[in-house]
Amino acid sequence: MARRWLGAASPFLVVATLLLAWDGATRFGLADPRYLSRPWVVAALIWEWTRSGYILPHVAATFVEVGLGYVCGTVAGMAVAFLFFFRPRLAELCDPLVVLLNAAPRAILAPFAVLMFGIDLASKVMLVTLVVFTITLLSLSAGLKEVDRTIVDNARVMGAGTSDLTRHVYLPAALVWVVSAMRISIGQAFTAAIVCELLGATKGLGWIVAAGQSAVKPDWIMAGLFFAAVIVVLIDVAILAPLERRGSHWRVF
């Protein structure tokens, strides 16, 4: 019993040890608190921002960017994936473009997005859209090819046309792949939005981090990244992972 308890607590023990090591390093002069800050300073700042509600508009700004980009990217990715699926010729011709899109993590395009679409909402939404579009397209293209031929053939024999097939066979099958693409893309979407904010923004979590960087306030950087990390992990653990588990039960095709 005690062993099991210890097993469950051990991840927290590791985190506590790391925090203590960090505190000790700054206390005994192994690390400079001007650049490394201190655990309790960062904790106090996080608490202060939460209590005063200072962080809320920034969290909301990043959320809106990611949310809008998500919707656009998922819709566009699904549309193009279906188009490619029903028009294989087109898919064949566009293959080099897809490879190019997928060649490097899209977050490196942030300076391009900021220069092209400005420091407001548009540049972040564009970049997040691009990230989500690419992942949805690739995941769904692979997924549609795995839809069971027997089901498609049966539906056809029973008189289903392309639109019936799309509505009753391909779309339900696609939803599962879209959800699993979401799980892959959520981290990348937030990364894209935050990197874009780092390079030019007037609000958002990335702006807080950038402000902390230019003012040499490591506690700002850490607290800002803390909120970003908590949000991403919460969305993944609380929403997308259960959704994906539900989805794999639906996967009858």
């Binding site: 097993g7 469950a8 051990s10 991840p11 023990l13 590791v14 985190v15 650049y35 490394l36 064949e92 011709l93 566009c94 293959d95 080099p96 473009l97 490879v99 190019l100 060649a103 490097a104 993590p105 977050a107 490196i108 395009l109 942030a110 300076p111 391009f112 900021v114 220069l115 092209m116 981290g187 990348q188 937030f190 990364t191 935050i194 990197v195 780092l198 390079l199 990335g206 981090v209 950038a210 902390g212 960087q213 040499v216 490591p218 950087i221 850490m222 990244l225 970003a228 990390a229 991403v232 992990v233 993944d236 653990v237």
Partner: protein, 257 residues
């Protein structure tokens, strides 16, 4: 077969050339401002200038060194921790939840933190690249050992296999393909990490060139820098895909990439 392949290749080339022509032509007919979209000829000219005045190799070397050093450090640490968690249940219980959380973090966005810790030099970019690669390789090794054929492991144990011999002859070959897959993914991310680190504080490297272009409102420079980065990552990816295919054939399996 060969005839079909070349036909498709020619058609693809035509699509790409057509898009480049469109990009070049849009400002000529007045539908776009070359200030915003630059043009392929300007971008090509800029890259050629960089090569001609000998500026480019230095920047490529800096970014490449950062990415490579990060890749090596991250891969070694990731493989070490992956083995630890795969072989030792206590370590797995203590570390796996942390690794799962760490894997979900938006790690490329942590560049400012690492620059605050390690300074504006190469070490902060190396640390960023290593932190990104670490999790890919960790999960590659760990999942590879988990997904391995448990029957094979049990048999090897019954026949007296243990310790390093078991690791070398059973666990590692089983994890090999996962490691290769993780490495392939890692190369692009290591370069991206180096470049993004350079965006946020550097005076050398491809990322510095790109972000300098952004500060100068010089779209040609941004495109030229991005083109070089994407070209390098693309070539490396194609090369590693070849290696991965050879690895699968060596293992006697088929691979779909």
């Amino acid at each position: 077969m060969a005839g079909v392949l070349t036909r498709v290749a020619i058609e693809r080339l035509a699509v790409v050339l057509g898009l480049l022509l469109l990009w070049q032509g849009l400002p000529l007919v007045g539908w776009a401002d070359p200030f915003f979209i630059s043009s392929p000829s300007l971008v090509g000219q800029r890259v050629w200038e960089w090569i001609a005045d000998g500026e480019l190799p230095g920047h490529v070397l800096v970014t490449g060194t950062e990415a490579l050093a990060g890749l090596v450090i991250g891969a070694v640490l990731g493989a070490g921790f992956g083995l630890l968690c795969g072989l030792w249940a206590t370590a797995q219980r203590a570390l796996l939840p942390l690794m799962t959380v760490g894997n979900a973090l938006p790690r490329l966005a942590f560049a400012p933190l690492l620059i605050a810790w390690f300074g504006f030099g190469m070490s902060s970019k190396i640390a960023l690249a290593a932190s990104v690669v670490f999790f890919f390789i960790f999960f590659g090794v760990y999942s590879g050992m988990r997904a391995g054929n448990q029957m094979l492991i049990a048999n090897a144990r019954v026949m007296g296999g243990r310790g390093l011999a078991l690791l070398w002859h059973v666990h590692l070959p089983q994890a090999f393909l996962w490691i290769i897959a993780g490495l392939r993914l890692s190369v692009g991310y290591a370069f991206a990490a180096a470049v993004i680190g350079e965006y946020l504080g550097a005076d050398r490297g491809l990322g510095y060139l790109i972000v300098y272009g952004k500060e100068m409102l010089d779209m040609t420079q941004v495109f030229a820098g991005l083109a070089v980065v994407i070209l390098i990552v693309g070539c490396l990816d194609v090369g590693l895909r070849r290696v991965a295919r050879a690895g699968w054939r060596w293992r006697g399996g088929e691979m779909r990439l």
